[in-house]
């Protein structure tokens, strides 16, 4: 019997080994690697690595462009995540309603799932073209002046938010939909018998019953949007006036374009810490509310 158990254990480990090895090497080891590399500096002259301790971090903390990137990352996330969450809830509720046309709407709401963020960015950059784009023509037709859109430091981030949300909301909608399907119908029926209105049944039944799903969406969405890169890389390059220069883009530019690995790695570590703090705060808030 013991021998058989051992045999099963060996089998279990051999089943686990390939996948866990891949995760350990390519998902978890890079965390150690980035932390280690952030303590080194590559000398330009000899190309050798020199241990500099926390100097890379000290440089960043004295650099106003780093703090700008931190602020831009936080600001982007403060704006984009509530927007996406609310739209995802609305979309999920809409296609959860049993009504004529449901299948068509469902089909159309799923479309962005197949469209990559790069293609989304191309489409919306055409629509929001600063000079003669579609949006400007519509605005002119409605009597508004031509807008600079992503050539303007105050508007660029909103365009980025719009692009990322167009792609993102359908995805998060799937989770809302799954959460809604998990709420027993009897609760709504009982509420209806009691004469509870649809708005109060939404506030007092749907939202509390969805709270776990919503926390999951919010945390995953924050993780995704802290890494938001493609529209910034493709359209604004962090500008204008560094107004969309998120930490991820700044880290990419520092390490891959300027070849300054030490500072780039220190930025990634900072991003990691920032993200952990934000997510820990989310969980704490959620627990306190429960």
């Amino acid at each position: 019997m013991i021998k058989q158990k051992q045999k099963i254990s060996i089998l279990a480990y051999s089943f686990l080994l390939p996948a866990l090895a891949m995760i350990l090497i390519f998902k978890l080891y890079p965390i150690i690697l980035v932390t280690k590399e952030s303590l080194f500096k590559v000398s330009y002259l000899s190309g050798t690595k020199v241990f500099v301790g926390i100097n890379n971090y000290m440089d960043l903390f004295c650099d106003s462009s780093f703090w700008n990137s931190v602020w831009v990352t936080l600001k982007l996330n403060l704006l984009i995540n509530p927007v996406q969450l609310v739209i995802a809830i609305i979309m999920g509720m809409l296609i959860n309603i049993n009504h004529k046309g449901k299948m068509i709407y469902r089909f159309l709401f799923f479309i962005p799932l197949g469209v990559s963020l790069a293609v989304t960015t191309i489409y919306w950059s055409i629509i929001f073209r600063p000079g003669n784009g579609v949006m400007n023509y519509l605005l002119n037709g409605l009597g508004f002046p031509t807008q600079p859109f992503f050539n303007s430091a105050s508007q660029a981030m909103w365009i980025i938010i719009g692009i990322a949300s167009w792609k993102g909301c359908s995805f998060w909608m799937l989770f809302v939909l799954a959460g809604l399907k998990n709420i027993p119908k009897e609760i709504y029926e009982a509420a209806e018998v009691e004469g509870v209105g649809s708005l109060s049944s939404f506030i007092f039944i749907t939202l509390p019953m969805l709270s776990k799903t919503l926390l999951f969406i919010l945390v995953s969405d924050i993780c995704a949007n802290f890494m938001l890169f493609i529209p910034i890389f493709m359209i604004t390059h962090g500008g204008p006036d560094s107004s969309t220069n998120v930490l991820m883009y700044q880290a990419y530019r520092t390490s891959m374009i300027n070849g300054d690995m030490g500072h780039g790695m220190a930025m990634i570590v900072s991003l990691m810490i920032l993200l952990s703090i934000v997510i820990a705060a989310q969980f704490k808030l959620f627990k306190d509310n429960e």
Binding site: F15, A19, G114, I122, V134, Y137, M227, Y252, M261
Partner: protein, 281 residues
């Protein structure tokens, strides 16, 4: 009174749904239609806005022919299919085995090993692209297809999906088989494999889309056109003297419709597997 109220709700429902639908469909539809027009007619009908904006005429297939003749794009398309298919095949197998092991077997250190999976779940994909680049560099794999495939093989979410699936199957089923003298391999092949097809389809779609949409990782790790990936190849149509919009829109449309054609008939598997990983998490 109640009836009137209902009618108003239905109108709001349709208005909102149509609004969302239009926002989702119009850009894709416009790009698709415009991609069948010659370069000088791409932006026709935009200002002033007219029905011509959604007209196939003057009709041409030149953009699509041009896209496939473009070396960078056509190579990237083939590369992406190769890389994505390889990732799906190897990835589904190794993650399914890991999920099976977690769900059905007891072994020493299970909790610790499981926490590795959970931890990987919490690390967002693109966060560690730059240290992963250093890692791949130290392995001497920069600008290879292996470098594109390796980091996307182990997938915590897919393991989670398989754990969910395998733990739903009653243990009695495999216990009965063990009593009958079946080996674990036989149990896996005869009992579990047929039941697992929906999960395999869902996992395949997730892993395929991950490679299809890969951007930052190939941007960092690929150098030559021989290892180019599709999303980055779009930039080949933006050149120093301007953008070749016809080609760019044709390429973008292909990039939308290939995954949509794959995704649409299989959407229920995709949705249920995504949902299953969320509900327990």
């Amino acid at each position: 009174m109640n009836r009137k109220h209902n009618k108003r709700n239905i109108v709001i429902y349709h208005l909102l749904s149509i609004l969302f639908s239009l926002i989702f469909v119009l850009p894709i539809l416009w790009a698709l239609i415009a991609s069948f027009r010659p370069e000088i007619n791409i932006f026709q009908g935009i200002s002033p806005l007219s029905f011509k904006v959604l007209s196939f005429f003057p009709f041409t297939l030149d953009n699509y022919i041009g896209v496939f003749k473009n070396e960078v794009f056509s190579k990237a398309l083939l590369n992406t299919f190769f890389v994505a298919t390889t990732t799906v095949i190897i990835g589904v197998i190794i993650n399914a085995f890991a999920g099976f092991s977690f769900a059905t077997m007891d072994f020493y250190g299970k909790k610790v090993l499981f926490s590795i999976v959970v931890a990987s779940f919490l690390v967002p994909g693109d966060l560690l692209v730059i240290p992963t680049y250093n890692l791949i560099d130290s392995m001497g794999l920069i600008d290879t297809k292996i470098a594109l495939i390796l980091p996307l093989l182990g997938n915590g979410m897919v393991i989670f999906m398989f754990i969910q699936f395998f733990s739903q199957i009653p243990k009695a089923l495999s216990e009965a088989a063990v009593i009958d003298g079946a080996s674990y391999r036989q149990i896996l092949i005869i009992i579990y494999a047929p039941l697992t097809i929906p999960t395999i389809i869902g996992a395949s779609l997730i892993m395929f889309l991950a490679q299809w949409e890969a951007f930052l990782w190939p941007l960092v790790v690929s150098r030559s056109i021989n290892n180019g990936m599709i999303q980055l190849a779009l930039s080949t149509f933006t050149q120093q003297y301007g953008t070749l919009w016809g080609l760019k829109l044709a390429a973008s449309s292909l990039l939308c419709f290939i995954p949509l054609i794959i995704l649409m008939p299989l959407q229920k598997y995709y949705i249920s597997s995504i949902a299953s990983s969320a509900i327990k998490g």
